[in-house]
């Protein structure tokens, strides 16, 4: 029996789960605004949201490390309120992952809301539904496929991050030592068996999640055209 620490796996799932939840809360309003605004700022915001796709994770990680540090823009405020810094903590990792995975949640939602369009919303308003009511009872159910895609991509992308985590989180067991870093560690110390087990586990898990979601997506009765 291989001596395997499952801590990193558990931590990774927690990180990905927390990140997806934060991303849905942050990404939904951004995607909604992008889909329905006529503001000139739209293209600028679109470009900023897409940045993490093209930037090397180390660049993003570097700036986040500064921003999350005790004297940084985010970290400083956090420290004023909580008394502790953000860098090299789990919360810091969630914030970093949120930036890192933002486009993978915002873009599918943006596309889905655009596909819904204004027309059904106007119909709902005319039937007496408030804007928030319309969002929950018309726009969201119609954009359900966009949500599924966003959740899967956001989750999977966070599972797979390495560079940003290494820069921002360091390698603290139980705090910031996630799966991808644990695998890297095992390889560095030539523990190939452990690296194999974790890698294969992550591979199979990711595949099963994607398979389940694509199956569900296909079976959804909703046809939005």
């Amino acid at each position: 029996m291989i001596d395997l620490d499952l801590g990193p796996l558990w931590l990774t799932l927690q990180l990905a789960g927390a990140t997806v939840i934060v991303l849905l809360l942050v990404g939904t309003p951004i995607a909604w605004w992008l889909a329905f605004t006529s503001s000139r700022l739209r293209t600028i915001v679109e470009a900023i949201v897409a940045l993490p796709i093209v930037l090397p994770p180390t660049v993003l990680g570097f700036y986040l490390l500064i921003a999350l540090g005790p004297h940084g823009l985010i970290g400083g405020i956090w420290k004023d309120f909580t008394g502790s810094a953000l860098s090299f903590t789990f919360t810091g990792l969630v914030i970093a992952s949120t930036f890192y995975s933002l486009p993978f949640v915002v873009q599918p939602l943006h596309g889905a809301f655009e596909a819904v369009g204004r027309k059904p919303l106007e119909a709902a308003w005319a039937l007496g539904a408030s804007k928030l009511d319309t969002f929950f009872t018309v726009a969201s159910p119609m954009a359900i496929r966009g949500y599924l895609t966003a959740i899967v991509l956001g989750f999977a992308h966070t599972l797979g991050e390495f560079g940003v985590v290494l820069m921002v989180g360091g390698n603290i067991p139980g705090q910031t030592k996630v799966l991808s870093i644990a695998i890297y560690d095992h390889v560095e110390t030539l523990e190939y068996a452990q690296a194999h087990t974790l890698s294969a586990g992550l591979l199979i898990f990711s595949f099963l999640v994607l398979l389940a979601v694509y199956t569900a997506n296909r079976r959804l009765p909703l046809q939005v055209t």
């Binding site: 059904p120 106007e122 119909a123 005319a126 159910p141 119609m142 909703l222």
Partner: protein, 365 residues
């Protein structure tokens, strides 16, 4: 009497809507005009979907918009039903849930119209458990009308609800729209570019041109005005006559219609004696003779008339419109040459020869 009054001023880069309308808030008010004249924008202003910078709108003493007082009631809080050009049903809900969407969001005390009533009037019982995408266009539009009705609106706005349907489906839905007026007594503003629909449905008509109201009033009055040529296509120009079916002639296959000035004979109509029927007599189908012909004519409808008014004579235009009185107003289009030959002047006694009576397709049975 209850009034619907609206005044909107709304500028777009390529177009300016400048409307001032005051119509009775009852029956069907048709808003007609060519594409791009601002009909839909006007309707969206009435709903509060577009906000005119300077505007006011009152419906039965409820102020829905008055920018001089800073009042603007958002659509969600207006008691308005809106039927769009496309049905816009919610694809994730079945027909029943679509119908109930607005009903659930209407105060219990404000609910006057019930699901059962709507299902019966619109004949959608067998569709209730189906999804919108499995319905035909006509069925979807009926559900959309029902969904709007179930909010028990004080005003129903319909934006060319039949334009996406083929002729047969149109004929299927028109009688339902007729019934809305008689069954539920909801004033309707009905936007259309199809004069057949308007002639059949409307009580009041508003003619829009380039974003402005060019004519408005009771439809019989508006359609018997001279000088509408710039507003209405020539093949639709003609007075409306309210008639009652009085007799069927089986031998010759004719039906006799009674109107204030006499009788009209038309091809057989599959309707009951006593039923009311609005017909349009196109100006181009009416000719004028100064004295009754001494020879026989194949035209059945020959009526005594007097000349009321002679329309504008334009040197570049070979035709001129004449307004006659046959007990009710009648328009006739004749050539300028005939006007000179007949020496027509107002008050002159003549005969009007009606070559055809435009009848709407029979949809009521």
């Amino acid at each position: 009497m209850n009034q619907l009054a609206a005044k909107f001023d709304l500028a777009f880069p390529s177009f300016h809507l400048h409307v001032n309308m005051n119509v009775p808030a009852e029956g069907i008010t048709a808003v007609f005009g060519p594409s791009g004249c601002g009909k839909t924008t006007f309707l969206r202003c009435l709903a509060g979907l577009e906000r005119a910078a300077a505007g006011s709108m009152t419906m039965n003493n409820h102020i829905w918009q008055d920018d001089s007082q800073g009042i603007f009631v958002p659509l969600t809080q207006r008691s308005v039903g809106y039927v769009f050009q496309e049905p816009r049903l919610f694809p994730h809900l079945n027909v029943r849930a679509n119908l109930q969407y607005g009903w659930k969001r209407t105060l219990e005390s404000a609910r006057r119209i019930t699901l059962d009533q709507v299902i019966k009037v619109l004949d959608i019982e067998r569709l209730l458990d189906r999804r919108p995408h499995s319905l035909s266009g006509g069925e979807q539009q009926r559900v959309a009308i029902g969904r709007a009705l179930l909010t028990s609106p004080q005003l129903l706005l319909m934006d060319e609800p039949l334009s996406s349907l083929d002729l047969q489906r149109k004929q299927e839905i028109l009688p339902f729209i007729h019934k809305l007026d008689s069954e539920f007594h909801i004033p309707i503003v009905y936007v259309s570019h199809d004069l057949h629909e308007i002639v059949e449905l409307a009580k009041t008509v508003v003619l829009l041109k380039e974003g402005k109201v060019a004519a408005s009033g009771p439809i019989e009055e508006v359609f018997s005005q001279l000088n509408l040529r710039h507003l209405i296509p020539e093949n639709h120009l003609g007075a409306l006559v309210e008639t009652t079916i009085v007799e069927h002639d089986q031998e010759f296959g004719l039906t006799t219609l009674k109107f204030p000035g006499g009788h009209l004979q038309v091809p057989h109509q599959n309707r009951h004696i006593g039923e009311r029927l609005r017909v349009q007599i196109l100006a181009k189908d009416v000719s004028i003779i100064s004295s009754p012909p001494s020879f026989q004519t194949s035209v059945l409808n020959l009526l005594e008339a007097s000349v009321l008014e002679i329309g504008e004579v334009k040197p570049e235009h070979p035709f001129v419109d004449i307004k006659l009185d046959i007990g009710c107003p009648l328009l006739a289009t004749i050539t300028r040459k005939s006007l000179t030959t007949l020496k027509l002047h107002s008050g002159q006694r003549v005969h009007a020869q009606i070559k055809a009576v435009a009848l709407s397709p029979e949809t009521h049975q």
